[in-house]
Structure formats: C-alpha cells, structure tokens
C-alpha cells in the first residue's frame, strides 16, 4: 500500500509532540530495530504528514483541541507505585465483582497489578519480543494496516508513543465467563502526562467476551493534567460477540481522546457502550466496519457534563454489506457551561439491502449556558432498507417536576429523578447486572455534581 498521504489537517504537529517521540526513542537502546518500533516510527511519520485538526476542519468544527495541543506533556518511564496506588487499583477492581482485570499504569500494561484467571484468552505484550509467535506476527500486520489506512492523527500519535501495545486474544469457540476489566491508572509526578495505551482485541470464531474499561487517577488534587489518547482495535470474527463498556470519569482538567475501530465478520455481534462523565475535553472516535452479513452492531452512549466540560462523540458505521442490523443511541445531560457534540454517521451503501439501522441522539440541557450540537447523519444508497434517525435537545419539563414535588420529593430529588429517567434507556441496554450497577453509581454521583 502506498503510505504517502496528502495532509488531511493543516495544523503542523507542534515541536513538543515531536520531541516526545524522540525522547521515547532515545531511551529504547537496543530495541530500536524491533518490529514494533518500526511501527512507532511509521505512526510518527504519518502523524507529521496528516497534521492536527482545527475547528476549520468539518469533523472538528465544534471541538477546539488547542488546550490539548498547547500543554507540555512528558511520557513517564515506569513509575513506582506505592501502597496507596495499589490499594486504589484493587478497590476499583473490586467494585465490579467476579471479573478478571488487566491494569495499565500510564498506558503501560502492568502484569503485577492484573488478575487473569481464565484460560479462554491470552494476553500478549507486543513490545516484548523475546518470543516469536504467529499471533504477534498477525498483530503487527493488523497494526501496520491500521496505520496505512487511518487518517486519524490520534491513532498515529497513539502508535508513535505507545510503549507496550497489548493483544487480548480470545480463543476460538471460548465464551469467557467473567467480564474482563481494563483499568487505566494514571500517576503524575508534578508534570502533565500523556498516556497512549493500545489494546488489540481479537475474538476468534464463535467466542464471547465482555469488557469494562475504566480510568483511575491519583492524587485527586493536582494541577498537572493527564492526556489519555487511547486506541482500541477490535476484531470480531464470525459468530463471535464482543461487548465493550467504558466509563470515563477523569479529572475536570484532563483530556481524553478515545479511538476505537471495530470490524465484524459474519453473524457477529459488537456492542459498544460509553459513559463520559469526567475530563475537560473528551473526544470519542468510534468506527465500525462490517465485513460480512448478518451482523448486529450496538453503539450506546451517555454523557453528563457540567462546568466547562466538552464532550464530543463521533461515530461512523459503514453498512457495506446486506442483511445487517445496527442500533445507535446516545443520551446526555448537560449543565453549567458544558458543551456536547454528537456526530453520528451511518452509511448504507447501495449493496447493503435489508439493512436495519436505528440512530438517535437526545440531550437534556439543564442550564441556560449549556450547549449541544447534534448531527445525526444517515446516508442511504440502498432502497430495501429499514432506517430511522433523529435528534432532540430539550429542557427540564416543569410539569414533571411539579408532579414529583407534589409527591413530596424536594427540588434536588425531583431533578435527579428526571435526569436519571432521561438516561434510562441507555442504561438498560447494559446486560450485565454488576456492570450496570457500577455505571449507575458513578453516573448518579456525577448527576449530583453538575450545576444547573
């Protein structure tokens, strides 16, 4: 494949981002010739070619990332964790009982803080090349292909600065019984930190797996920022099912760009759920590619914003194949001076007959200064399809509030109930009871905190 590209975005990648790659390279010593480092280099080069976006670019029209780009970050080497760090990680893991968990510290896979009991899947560190394996080779091919095909600068940036990509390989026909938690732990040491975890999931034919991805930071009070730039690549083979939930409740001055690309083979199911509650700027780039028929794709999201938070969900689903079904539903509550963006594109190509696609975005604005820009896009080129899409932006209904108060609930209880009820349909799509409870608890906490 020809990897030369016309720059997509006009803003040059600032020098302090380029020097991050150099500093990573300089501490690698003998590892520079290893396969993955070649991929990092490729990511770094492609990033420089593609450039960074500005609000003049259509897909970043409502989301200015200057704050993210202007900050000086360092890419920490392995940090030492103290007892309290480890305690915080274990406690987070315990919130969702009966799970395996995989911990990442500042983006780096940390086996000593992980707990893997199932033999139905394998976890492989891709930077560690002491052992050759077919799986690794396959992974590298995939990653290279991603880099060549993607014009998303944050996927390139992720690969360029990823210290240790992790492959999670679900064996053919295995139904992984316990959900797997992916816990991202960030520890800053007085300077702002950039973390670029890359997680590469392959669910082999007829396998099943359920993930819960969360973020955790210490100390809670700090002036330095975290910029988490994640990339999840998920391959769902024939008849397989991958369910992925994420909860993002980073600090109110942190930044997160979460890139996720999934591809689905015949009869497969992919479910993505995101709850975005924290961080100053959140950008989710979710892309799903359908490779064969009779797939089911679910994309659910909820967001709660307050203060000056900015939450941007971009989704792209390409129906290129007939007989596939998709459901997409994003709901959010925005207060303070927060701002939300939803841009969901569903493409139904000419060949994709018998497509069943549903898309919806609803937002509740609970303050006069909150703002939502919603752009549900459904492009249909096939004629025998069942598709619907829509968006609503509304305010608190005073009739409902009065009804609730007339039953003795105070202003705050009534408001909370209305907001929770508003988000309910998205909650209810979460099948696993424990995971639903973990999500509900953190969402309710966040709804309490936002000001109207």
């Amino acid at each position: 494949m020809n990897s030369s590209v016309i720059p997509k975005y006009q803003t040059e990648v600032p020098g302090h981002f380029r020097s991050l790659f150099e500093s990573l390279e300089s501490r690698l010593n003998g590892e520079k010739d290893l396969v993955f480092h070649q991929l990092r280099k490729k990511g770094s080069n492609r990033l420089l070619q593609i450039g960074f976006p500005t609000t003049r670019n259509e897909d970043y029209k409502y989301t200015a990332l200057n704050r993210v780009f202007n900050e000086n970050y360092y890419l920490p080497e392995q940090v030492s964790l103290d007892e309290q760090d480890e305690k915080a990680i274990r406690e987070t893991a315990k919130k969702c009982p009966e799970t395996d968990y995989i911990c990442f510290v500042n983006g780096r896979y940390t086996p000593s803080l992980s707990s893997i009991s199932s033999k139905d899947y394998t976890v492989l560190s891709l930077a560690d090349q002491s052992e050759e394996s077919e799986l690794k080779k396959e992974a590298f091919q995939h990653i290279e292909k991603n880099l060549d095909e993607s014009d998303n600068p944050f996927v390139q940036l992720n690969t360029a600065l990823c210290e240790d990509p992790l492959m999670i390989h679900i064996k053919e026909g295995k139904k992984v019984e316990k959900p797997i938690q992916l816990i991202h732990y960030y520890k800053t040491g007085g300077e702002s930190v950039i973390a670029c975890p890359q997680i590469f999931v392959v669910a082999e034919e007829n396998s099943e797996v359920n993930f819960l991805e969360t973020h955790l930071t210490r100390p809670e009070t700090r002036s330095e920022k975290i910029f988490a730039n994640l990339f999840n690549r998920i391959v769902v083979e024939s008849g397989a099912s991958v369910v992925h939930h994420k909860i993002q409740d980073l600090g109110t001055e942190d930044f997160i760009i979460h890139n996720m690309v999934a591809s689905q083979e015949k009869d497969s199911h992919f479910y993505a759920f995101t709850a975005d509650l924290g961080s100053r700027i959140t950008r989710n780039n979710l892309e799903v590619h359908l490779k064969n028929s009779f797939t089911q794709t679910d994309m659910f999201g909820l967001f709660v914003g307050g203060a000056r938070q900015h939450i941007d969900n971009q989704t792209y689903l390409d129906h290129a194949i007939p007989n596939c079904e998709s459901r997409e539903w994003y709901k959010g509550v925005l207060g303070g001076r927060s701002r939300g963006v939803f841009n969901g594109k569903v493409l139904v190509r000419q060949d994709a007959q018998k497509t069943n696609a549903f898309q919806q975005n609803n937002t509740l604005l609970v303050s006069d200064h909150a703002r939502m820009d919603s752009k549900p896009q459904l492009e249909i080129y096939a004629d025998d399809v069942k598709c619907s899409h829509g968006a609503t932006i509304g305010q608190m209904d005073s009739e409902i509030l009065f009804y609730l108060k007339s039953r003795g609930l105070n202003e705050q209880q009534a408001g909370e109930l209305v907001k929770i009820a508003f988000l309910a349909e998205v909650f209810e799509s979460v099948d696993n009871e424990h995971i639903r409870k973990v999500i509900a608890d953190v969402v309710v906490d966040n709804l309490r905190e936002i000001y109207e």
Binding site: D397, E399, I400, F402, Y403, K405, S406, R407, G408, L409, N410, E411, Q413, A414, L417, V418, I420, A421, F422, L423, A424, E425
Partner: protein, 253 residues
Amino acid sequence: MLKIKDLRASVEDTEILKGVNLEIKPGEVHAIMGPNGSGKSTLGFVLAGKDDYEVTGGTIEFKGQDLLELDPDERAREGVFLGFQYPVEIPGVSNSNFLKMIVNSMRKARGEKELDSLEMLKLLKEKLATLGMNINMLKRSLNDGFSGGEKKRNEILQMAVLEPTLAILDETDSGLDIDALKVVADGVNSMRSEDRGFLIITHYQRLLNYIVPDVVHVLVDGKIVKSGDKNLALELEDKGYDWIKENKAAQPA
C-alpha cells in the same frame, strides 16, 4: 383543618379565582362541582402550590399554618395530596421504585424509620389488594403507556401509600368506565377516616353516587355560588349548571 378565605388567583394576568371561601374539617368529604372553566382545577393546583398560578389575595390555612408560605414538596410532606387530572408519564422510572422513593422520603421527613425492601413490598401488596390492582403495575414505568383508567388508579395507589391528611382529587372520574370508577371510589372510601379530609373536584354527579360527600359546593366563574348536602349534586344533575347561573343572576347584588 383547611380554611380558605377570599382566595384570589390569576394565571398570566387573568383572574381565575375571584374570592373563594371554603372550610374543610377533619373527616369531611367535600365535593366541588362546576362547569368547565369555572376554576375547579385551578383551586386544586393553587392548593398544591403550582407556581404557574399567582395568588393575588386571600389566605389558605392548613393545620394552623399558612399554606401559601410552603413549597409544593413541603405541602406534600405536611399531608396535602393532589390527584392529577392528567398524571404525567415518566418513562425510565419504574413505578415500584417511584413508590418506594416517595414513601421513604415522606417517612424520613416525618421522622419515621424508612422501610426496607421487604417491608415496602408488604405495604405495596397490601395497598394493591385493597384497591383491587394487579401487581404487574409495579414493574412498569411510571404512568408510561398507562390507559386513562390505569393512570387514575395509580394516583389512588400513590394516595394510599402516602396517607395524606388532605386529599384533593381533580376530576379523578373523568375518562373512567364504571368498573374503574368503582375501584377509584372504593379506594377513596377505604381511606375515609375521622382525621382525613377530601376535596373531590368533579364535573359530573356520577362519582358522588359512590363517594357520598358531606358537603357539595358549586363553583361558577371563580366563586362558590352555592353549597349544600349531597342532594345539591342530584339537583344539579337534573337541572344543569345554567340553573345555578340563572339563579345567581336573579339574586340581588
């Protein structure tokens, strides 16, 4: 327990209540009847504290305190209940969770111990049985997709669990078939007690065959123009509201 004196209320600068006087003593059931647009529902909303209505004059005393000083939720906690003519639908809130929430927040406000899940289930089952209602109703979302009759029965269920001192029922009979009407009436009758008062707002006399009132008032153009016993309702049914209006016009100023 409720003393309304010369109550005047407006909505968007239009005066709707033009000096209402009414007193309800504990244990009494009062019915307010009147033609459409006479201000019946406004009276209910003003008592419950809806802020779309501006009280421009008069007083409301409830259990010795100034009701107009209290917010809607405070009034509810003091024991005022309004059964809505059009109960709102809230998808996403399960009926059982909602009932639990309002019962416990009420108990908490009254300094009583909150009920645990088992105690709550026992209470709800007991009330459902009294009202001849199906337990499946609890699993559904609050009023979401309920038929008119189901919504009204649900209002009565809420009233039953909240055990108010003053229950105002705003056209609870409208849109009900005869069976649903009996359920609602039985619910109300089962709750009649010597320390509880009822204000039944209705357009038709029909409901008063089942809930026999102590006093019937006729509200016309924002004023109570006639009060009497249960026979007044029958007379109205017979002669229509025009009879009262004509009577009123004939009265010397």
